[in-house]
């Protein structure tokens, strides 16, 4: 078992014939993702090289394939529209890779698409190693196992996962929740799923400066994950106040979103905070035995 995504999940790709869309569709197929089709308006009735059918609308794709999952690889101006279309067609989980969707469009999307889980936007996606990939991550660094991973970043996730895999800690599911101001799925949403997943024995939470989602995650862990070890990391601890660093969310304003408050919250919840990514496997090892890889 994993969370959100397993090898039977039926996945469609919105924007399947685009340059990025097709490139990543092929990568996901090679990984074993159960991609049952895709959507590009005007190209309905055709197929991509590997045989998956292309539809004009998400509704057509869902009707024909029974897809429940959709990965969105469309330009930013079409991102919110793609999410609404997925919701109206009955998609249960949408991964939105698209970077640059206006934040006010996302405010309306998350306030209206009840019941559809949105991962992202502006995220690397999610992967249940050995089972399925809905994302743009370099799959070779991931290994199947029992550690859940949640991160606000892309490349930092790869860095941490690479270290975990080398140390013998495979992963159940890894989720890049995205670096934007408004995102569909938070740390807490993922922790709630990991808490109930018997195959996830421990969780790594990779946060960064800005916002209060790490503090909320810490409070949730204290209350709901008493028996699952959690290890945290906070990126950007050396950043000066007021400097926005790439991610829209990664900014300390006033006394809000400081690394001190995040570290304190985790420690009070009994969650050790790694000073650097390379310390994470060691902290896990004190709490879990690495499985033979």
């Amino acid at each position: 078992m994993a969370i959100f995504l397993d090898k039977n999940s039926k996945v469609i790709v919105q924007g399947i014939t685009g340059r990025e869309g097709l490139f990543h569709t092929n990568k996901m197929l090679a990984y074993g993702t159960n991609i049952v089709g895709g959507v590009t308006p005007g190209k309905g009735g055709t197929t991509i090289e590997s045989g998956q059918p292309v539809f004009n609308t998400v509704k057509d794709a869902v009707d024909a394939t029974g897809a429940t999952h959709s990965i969105i690889l469309v330009p930013p101006f079409a991102g919110a529209d793609a999410l609404y279309e997925a919701y109206e067609a009955g998609i249960k989980l949408a991964v939105c890779i698209t970077e640059g969707i206006p934040v006010h469009e996302m405010l309306k999307v998350v306030a209206t698409t009840f019941g559809m889980r949105i991962i992202g936007p502006n995220c690397p996606g999610l992967i249940s190693p050995g089972k399925s990939l809905m994302g743009i991550m370099p799959s070779q660094v991931f290994k199947e196992g029992n550690v859940g991973m949640i991160s606000r970043s892309g490349t930092l996730t790869y860095e941490i996962v690479d270290g975990l895999s080398r140390a013998g800690f495979g992963q159940s599911t890894c989720i890049g929740i995205g670096g934007d101001t408004i995102i569909g799925t938070t740390f807490v949403d993922c922790l709630r799923e990991f808490a109930n997943d018997p195959e996830t024995h421990a969780v790594v939470v990779a946060g960064e400066i800005g916002g209060a989602s790490e503090e909320e995650a810490a409070a949730f862990v204290a209350e709901h994950l008493p028996n699952k070890p959690v290890v945290a990391f906070i990126g950007g601890r050396s950043a000066p106040k007021g400097a926005r660093l790439g991610h829209a969310g990664a900014i300390i304003s006033g006394n809000f979103g400081t690394p001190e408050s995040k570290v304190k919250a985790f420690l009070e919840a009994g969650v050790p905070v790694a000073d650097k990514p390379s310390d994470i496997p060691g902290l896990l090892a004190e709490r879990l035995k690495p499985a033979a890889v």
Partner: protein, 396 residues
């Protein structure tokens, strides 16, 4: 994109929020001519992004054309420095506005609460001062309303806020209209922040936005090409300009000021991805050094961008060594390697000792390119940071 006061007020007027009458001026002659044609008492307000403008001497009062000319000459070109902005900012333009007789000052803003995933309206009867100070010393004086974006703004919200904040009765009638306009502007123009401080109640009972602080979401600017064009006319942050000039996102490069008591900011850093970029500067700090900057080359960087990024970072004279940290995903290691080799080929480049960490997609090809050119990448981020700090300190 942060707006100047005069630009913010332009947007206010588009949504029906009253502002003082006045004119935007870039020369002392403009000011003199305007006051000559419109006799009365005028305020000359320096158009700068920084806070604490008044205390820094950026606001003057003029009653005659000559006085206006003299004060305008004094202000334009002046370098203002405030507590909030010790680096200061040079005044390039003025907003000349009617002096209003103030009965009362309130505070109104709308911003995004990222954790609630909703816009939040903030109101206080204590306008005209720093709202963060009010929040600290008199938190009860600040009231908030979280708007459900699916409902949008409705006048009852303004009434609730009006009574809860105990605004003077004179605001009552126009307050819902002002908030409705402000919410429309917030959503339509995609603002991260719209702030009126103060929202003035005049002696003759009018409600006027006396100042405007507006920050727009860059991702939504394409919907308003006229507003987007202001960006070119307005001198923005130096780092943001430098980033845009080489084709990076405007928040992908940030130079860090020196800090007293901390190690010198002498290690330049380049990474792919904001998270890894932050991790890289943290690693430099952990190794006992100081990162001079944060630079995220983004995903899929080509050799040319790597070269330009290298040159941007080394243009900072404090940089004594460089740490390039690449975890290839979309970004290909061979492209990064080609960029590095290319960057260092020309004689016009300031070369500093370089530490490269390259892993992930096409890392082997990249390492070969680097080895052929005489560079030897390190294996891990920690090792790279330690080496870069040692090189910046002048040892191997």
């Amino acid at each position: 994109m942060k707006l100047m006061e005069y630009q913010g007020k332009d947007l206010f007027r588009r949504v029906g929020i009253p502002t003082p009458s006045g004119v935007f001026a870039t020369t002392a002659d403009d000011v003199k001519t305007f006051i000559a044609e419109h006799p009365g008492s005028w305020v000359l307000k320096s158009q700068v992004m920084m806070g604490g403008r008044g205390k820094a001497g950026g606001i003057k009062f003029a009653d005659t054309p000559d006085e206006g000319e003299t004060l305008a000459k004094e202000l334009i070109g002046k370098h203002l420095v405030s507590i909030q902005n010790p680096d200061g900012e040079t005044v390039k333009s003025l907003l000349v506005e009617e002096k209003v007789a103030i009965e009362s000052e309130a505070y109104v803003s709308i911003t995004i609460d990222r954790d609630a995933k909703k816009p939040v309206i903030i109101v206080s009867a204590k306008g005209g001062m720093d709202v963060e100070e009010v929040a600290e010393h008199d938190p009860d004086a600040i009231v908030k309303y979280w708007v459900d974006p699916a409902i949008g703004f409705s006048p009852f919200m303004a009434r609730e806020l009006f009574f809860a904040a105990k605004l003077p009765a004179g605001y009552g009638k126009t307050f819902p209209k002002i908030l409705a306009g402000l919410y429309t502007m917030f959503m339509e123009y995609g603002a991260n922040l719209v702030e009126i401080n103060p929202l003035v109640l005049t002696k003759d009972g009018k409600v006027i936005a006396s100042d405007a602080k507006v920050d727009l979401d860059d991702n939504g600017l394409f919907k308003h090409p006229d507003v987007q064009a202001w960006n070119k006319a307005t001198p923005s942050d130096e780092d943001q300009e430098a980033a845009l000039a080489i084709g990076l996102g405007m928040f992908n490069y940030k130079k860090f000021a020196d800090e007293a008591g901390a190690p010198p900011k002498s290690v330049g850093t380049i990474a792919n991805g904001a998270g890894l970029g932050m991790g890289t500067m943290d690693a430099v700090k952990n190794a006992g050094g100081g990162a001079a900057n944060f630079l995220d080359i983004g995903g899929g960087a080509q050799a040319e961008l790597v070269k330009k990024s290298y040159n941007l970072v080394t243009s900072d004279p404090r940089v004594k060594s460089m740490f390039i940290n690449i975890f290839g995903g979309i970004t290909r290691g061979d492209q990064v390697a080609l960029g590095i080799v290319e960057a260092l080929k020309g004689g016009d480049v300031r070369q500093v000792p370089l530490v490269i960490r390259l892993t992930g997609t096409n890392a082997d090809e990249g390492r070969k390119i680097l080895a052929d050119a005489g560079f030897f990448p390190v294996e891990t981020m920690d090792e790279g940071a330690a080496k870069a700090v040692a090189l910046a300190n002048g040892s191997n």
